[in-house]
């Protein structure tokens, strides 16, 4: 899986590409973990090029929620496809304060 990481002033953009399944989500997990280790807690995840997400893929975001919350950070997901957005919503992830879901494109700098 190809993942682009673009640092900005107040946040870092992560762009995973392809299918987020049990195998590929390991790489996304590593990417986010390395950022958190550098005390980067404001993450913008561009889901534009993600075609599919499995429960293991969801698990990656879920596993960092507590840590991000404790450090007053935030995860913003943008460009969520309809079905992916539905999965996130059903799971109740839309209710989490420091996890924001956007189906379209927004300016992430406004969120942080």
């Amino acid at each position: 899986m190809n993942i682009t990481v673009t640092p900005h002033d107040r946040y870092t953009t992560i762009g995973p590409e392809g299918e987020l399944d049990a195998n590929s989500s390991v790489y996304l997990d590593e990417t986010i973990r390395s950022l958190i280790e550098k005390n980067v807690y404001n993450l913008h995840i561009n889901m534009e090029n993600v075609t599919y997400i499995s429960s293991a893929g969801l698990g990656v975001f879920i596993s960092f929620i507590d840590e991000i919350e404790q450090n007053n950070g935030k995860i913003i997901l943008t460009h969520l496809a309809d079905n992916v957005h539905e999965v996130f919503t059903i799971l109740g992830l839309d209710k989490i304060d420091n996890l924001k879901l956007h189906q379209g494109e927004i300016d992430p700098s406004l969120e942080f």
Binding site: G59, I62, S63, Q70, I90, L91, G92, K95, I96
Partner: protein, 696 residues
């Protein structure tokens, strides 16, 4: 008519022998009669030499030929040494007889009886000689026809025809039919043609090829003895009539003469062939050892030999085929990745280490996948002028499907002592051994795999007992459920418990992921469900406590969705909390209206600190009426895909439920599962569960 085919071979042989002996006695009778007559008449009128006498003589010979031919024609397994030994013994018995005749003759000279006895002696000598040469001829026939070919059989028949002619000629039939002048050229022509035929037959010595050095030496000795016996007989045949004072043409009847020519010819050829083949025999022996080793390794591939047996076989075969002084095998240790000496022959590990001085010979050979022939170790760069008793080394990689297992080495104290032939043989051996090792490895893996499958089967059985086998039965509420796992074990869970006479508690859940990990957490949630439903707590408290319990034991990144219901039949009220799980359907008034119970909270194990309670706000609480029903399910149903990649989805599910509205809860649950399977055109690749609750 007697049916000869019905008689046993032994009986026929017995009859032949008796007839033969009777004929011989008849001959003796004629001789004795002649002797007594000759006292009065001149020898010119003797019957001996007449047609009648020769007819009996011919009969005597032919009967014996058939008898001996029969005895030696049924030898199934050709054992040259045994047959030659038997022939020699037959010859020796005959020679002893001839010697006894000679002594007896000398002792009895001058007596009245002697005049008659000489005829007995003469015929006895003839008998011994004929038996020997007939035996030799028919034993050699077996040698010649090894193996039988059409051409050889043809030549043999021609030989028999000549023998037949010799009998006829002896009977004087030709003299009667033709003029003497016609017979002379026939005789002159016949003998050389017969000699040529004998020589042609004598070239069939294929059996010599299958003897090893020692066997050849033994058979050569036996042939020499037979040659000696033959020579003795010839001398005896030449001298005996004279000694006996008989005026005959000696024992050289043309029939016997033909047999003698053939016996001498074949014996001579066999001796020559055996003698000149002796030096090359060792090469053939080595070749056959190679073939045997090759077969042994081949067998090792087919049978389930273990690693060490295969390596031992390879090493033994290689050292033998290379005529090497020593050898060893080095193999890669799968776990450590190191190369180790695993087998040695006529050398020790210390000596090999001393020779190699820690060089990477085996790795080089394995990487190149090619043999390495070092003609002089001292001059090779890898060995840095090592002083060692071994001077020449050949290493061959043991490879299969590009996987290197190690290498086999053979060494010699003499420089430059391995040839191309050796390299080829060892390469073949090593390839075969590589395949054998590969097979052994695959079999081992297979056994391990079977063990895992067995374990999984047990896990499946255990897990299937975690799901309720029977659902509660009550006149005012009906339940039906179907659940299946994609792999041996899965992460779907459902359960129904009757708390008191009017309260039911239900759960349906799905652990993220599939397989073994999911199955463990599924067992966990069952424990939590059963513990919490015994306490009289509300749905909100249930879900918060369940989240707490799961968070403490579930691995990071895993989560679980769960829908929990409490049904009060008295109040006709349902309280439902959806923790990230797929929303349930509530059908009212016999499929009239439908509600999707979407209100819910976060899945379990997502937020693991105390803040989870903050998210638990929305609880669905509604009343039901007779004819209402609830459809609960896991996402394996919704996310089932068809060939186009389309998901089954809510709409298809709703439609399917409506199709089975009129049926029982069992029919409905089964109908839904079948609808999903028809849509997906195959077995589903995710766990799925359907749970129907109906208020009749």
């Amino acid at each position: 008519m007697i049916n000869f085919r019905a008689l046993s071979p032994k009986l026929i042989n017995g009859i032949l022998l008796i007839v033969g002996i009777l004929l011989w006695i008849a001959l003796l009778g004629i001789h004795v009669l002649e002797q007594s007559l000759s006292v009065y008449a001149s020898s010119e009128n003797w019957v001996i030499g007449s047609i009648n006498y020769q007819l009996i003589m011919a009969g005597f010979m032919v009967v014996h030929a058939v008898w001996i031919g029969r005895i030696f024609s049924n030898i199934e397994k050709l054992n040259v040494a045994t047959l030659m030994w038997r022939l020699f013994m037959i010859g020796m018995v005959g020679i002893t007889l001839v010697m006894l005749i000679t002594f007896a003759n000398r002792a009895l000279v001058g007596s009245t009886l002697h005049r008659y006895l000489v005829h007995f002696f003469f015929l006895l000598g003839l008998y011994a000689m004929m038996v020997f040469f007939l035996s030799a001829t028919f034993i050699f026939r077996r040698f010649i026809l090894y193996p039988r070919t059409k051409r050889k059989i043809l030549f043999w028949r021609l030989f028999l025809v000549f023998l037949g002619f010799s009998v006829l000629q002896q009977m004087g039939i030709f003299l009667r039919l033709f003029q003497y002048q016609t017979i002379i050229p026939l005789r002159l022509l016949g003998i050389p043609i017969f000699v040529i035929l004998c020589i042609v037959l004598s070239t069939n010595v294929r059996w010599t090829a299958y003897l090893n050095f020692n066997q050849k030496l033994r058979v050569l000795g036996l042939f020499a003895l037979v040659a000696l016996v033959t020579g003795t007989y010839l001398i005896a045949a030449y001298r005996l009539p004279g000694q006996l004072g008989l005026e005959t043409d000696g024992l050289f009847f043309s029939f016997l003469l033909f047999l003698v020519i053939f016996t001498i010819s074949y014996t001579l050829f066999s001796i020559l062939v055996l003698f000149f083949n002796l030096p090359t025999t060792s090469i053939f022996e080595r070749e056959s050892v190679e073939i045997a080793s090759f077969n042994k390794i081949n067998q090792a591939i087919q049978s389930n030999l273990d690693f060490s047996e295969i390596i031992r076989t390879l090493l033994d075969a290689s050292v033998m085929a290379a005529s090497a002084q020593a050898g060893w095998v080095e193999m890669v240790d799968e776990e450590k990745g190191e190369i180790q000496i695993v087998a040695t022959l006529r050398t020790q590990i210390d000596e090999i280490e001393q020779l190699k001085q820690g060089n990477n010979l085996t790795r080089n050979i394995m990487e190149d996948q090619r043999h390495m022939l070092i003609k002089n170790i001292r001059r090779h760069k890898l060995f840095r002028e090592t002083e060692h008793r071994f001077k020449c080394l050949l290493g061959v990689p043991i490879v299969s499907h590009n996987k290197g297992y190690g290498a086999v080495y053979v060494v010699n104290e003499l420089t430059n002592s391995f040839e191309d032939v050796t390299v080829n043989a060892l390469t073949t051996f090593a390839e075969q051994a590589g395949m054998a090792l590969e097979n052994a490895r695959l079999i081992k893996n297979n056994i391990e795999l079977e063990r895992y499958q067995e374990q999984l089967k047990i896990a499946k059985e255990v897990q299937s007992q975690l799901l309720p086998s029977k659902l509660p039965v009550h006149p005012d509420i009906q339940f039906a459920a179907r659940s299946e796992t994609a792999q041996e074990v899965g992460g779907d869970y459902f359960d129904v418990i009757q708390a008191d006479d009017h309260t039911f508690r239900l759960a349906i859940g799905d652990v993220s992921g599939k397989g073994t990990t999911a199955a463990f957490y599924m067992a966990e949630i069952k424990g939590i469900f059963h513990a919490l439903t015994r306490m009289d707590i509300g749905v909100k408290e249930f879900i918060v406590t369940a989240n707490q319990a799961l968070s403490s034991c579930m691995q990071h990144g895993f989560f679980m969705t769960l829908t929990y219901l409490q049904i009060d039949l008295q109040k006709k009220q349902v309280e439902l909390i959806r923790a990230g799980h797929s929303p349930a359907f509530h059908f009212q008034h016999d499929c009239g209206e439908v509600h999707m119970l979407r209100e819910g909270t976060l899945g379990l194990g997502i937020v693991r600190n105390g803040s989870y309670e903050r998210y638990v706000r929305d609880v669905e609480s509604f009343t039901f009426q007779s004819g209402d029903f609830l459809v609960l399910y896991t996402d394996g149903i919704l996310e089932a895909r068809n060939e186009k990649g389309e998901e089954y989805g809510y709409e298809r599910l709703e439609k399917a439920i409506r199709t089975f509205c009129e049926g029982s809860v069992e029919e409905m649950s089964q109908g839904i599962v079948e609808s999903v399977k028809t849509f997906a055109h195959s077995d589903l690749d995710d766990d799925y569960t359907v749970l129907i609750v109906k208020f009749p």
